[in-house]
């Protein structure tokens, strides 16, 4: 469904956000598959021994804070944050590309800082605020970083772009007036195989100059 972006460039976030929140319920159901394969009841992390909490291999109920809303999930410990987002919460903006933290396509914000969601257990996100590409736009308006990516056509196939946008957001959270060299180094954990780098750099520079309102 291609809508000319000139028509309603900002009218994108709300539905995506709701889709994500609604996905939480579906998430638990989906994981029913893995529960049935173990035939055990899931349990929340329990105190195993003094000072040690335990999450059973068979699965536990955890609550993650995703894009400002709680999402209750039943997951097994080896579930990565990326898998939880994509497979259980229908938040498919973050991508699995290298699956080893080398390409940045799975980048999400954890308490405002960027991490590879493929290299992190979902359980480790408990108690932290997770923001995905779907949660960047606020009140129906694109985040200034997204806006800058749009203005500069900072993209080709687009598969890496959610990762670049989220990483750029974290970079500017930390260095609001980042200049060219800082931006390049700051993005060095992301790979764009189409190599739309010129446009990406220009977008992030513009977002930095724009003061990120």
């Amino acid at each position: 469904m291609q809508r000319d972006n000139g028509s309603k460039p900002d009218g994108v976030s709300r539905r995506q956000f709701l889709q994500g929140a609604g996905g939480a319920a579906a998430g638990s159901m989906l994981l029913g598959l893995s529960q049935s394969s173990h035939g055990e009841q899931p349990a929340t992390g329990v105190t195993a021994r003094s000072g040690v909490r335990q999450y059973a291999a068979s699965g536990s109920v955890v609550t993650l804070q995703i894009n400002g809303s709680p999402a209750q999930l039943t997951i097994t410990p080896e579930t990565t944050l990326l898998q939880a987002l994509r497979e259980l919460l229908n938040l498919t903006g973050a991508k699995e590309v290298c699956d080893r933290g080398a390409c940045g396509a799975c980048t999400v914000l954890l308490d405002g800082r960027s991490v590879n969601s493929c290299m992190m257990l979902a359980i480790d996100a408990v108690g932290h605020k997770v923001t995905t590409i779907e949660g960047l736009a606020k009140d129906g308006k694109l985040d200034p970083v997204q806006r800058a990516f749009v203005d500069h056509d900072a993209c080709q196939c687009g598969y890496c772009i959610p990762g670049f946008v989220v990483r750029s957001r974290a970079l500017l959270n930390e260095t609001p007036a980042a200049k060219s060299d800082t931006i390049r180094h700051g993005l060095s954990g992301n790979i764009c195989r189409c190599a739309a780098y010129q446009r990406i750099f220009a977008a992030v520079e513009a977002a930095a100059k724009g003061g990120l309102k």
């Binding site: 040690v52 909490r53 335990q54 080896e78 933290g101 080398a102 290299m119 390049r184």
Partner: protein, 324 residues
Amino acid sequence: MNSFDYLVAEQFDAAVAEYGRGTAALKAGGIDLLDLMKEGIDSPSTVLSIGELGEFRYIRDENDGVHIGCLTTLADIGRSKLLKIKYPVLHHAAAEAATPQIRERATIAGNLCQRPRCWYFRQREFHCLKKGGATCFAVDGENRYHAIFGGGPSYIVHPSNIAPALVALDAVIHVRSTDKENEPIKAADFFVLPEQSLKTENVLKPGQIISEVVLPQAPTQSATIELREKQSFDWPVTMACVARLDGGWRVCLGSVAPIPWLSRPAMEVLANKDITPELAAAAGEAAVKGADPLADNEYKVQLVKVATKRALLTAAGLEVPRWN
């Protein structure tokens, strides 16, 4: 990844006790362990996380030196003004390691304890010496990135960027276990060669957890030079970390040996002299003494000379070649 029971420590003492039981794999940021588990190289049935112990994430300037908590991330080190100003050799090594995203999760202790990045070790297809097999594939195989010092029977290079910096700074790694409340180990004594142990790369015994790293003394001069093929995320092909403590120089090389390679020949040349371009070059020449390259990694000998020389020049504030 295999399925496992996940234990999350809420207190360090509890973590030490739990780890002392000998049944769990230890995890901090998880970058290294997850990588190994995804490839099926490690498949622990229980994983113990110390990642939530936020009180072990600190950089403190105290009377006996700078204390860095075991869960301090590489990004934390990168953000530390104290380290940037007083310990550039460590700051640079940490701030440029891996990727910005990895650095947010990777901890100083995890970085020191990570397993080799050797492409044979990291792939399940190769049942190599370090994984209990009979062959170090590097010997007769693709060995352009492997060791030129201290190799045999395995030729891995130590993967940590910050380890050579800590050795150069003569840092002390503090270890806890159920047996001992606190055991200080010098960074220079922390790592072991393959001829001593194939199963591990350091002296830690089961049940021992790094609690903090202490930098006893600020160097008067220090620097890190990393030489990489790619300037974006890449492992250095050669690294040199130099630091001047009490007037004397310490030179530690990275990515060229199975351990951070303290270059005594270079240190002897340098002693406690002030750096001149000639002295830096002489130290570079000395640093390659004893190098024993494999078929495809002789170029590292040249890189060691240059990295050592440039690190010393940088530390002394002298001119080094710059990209135009």
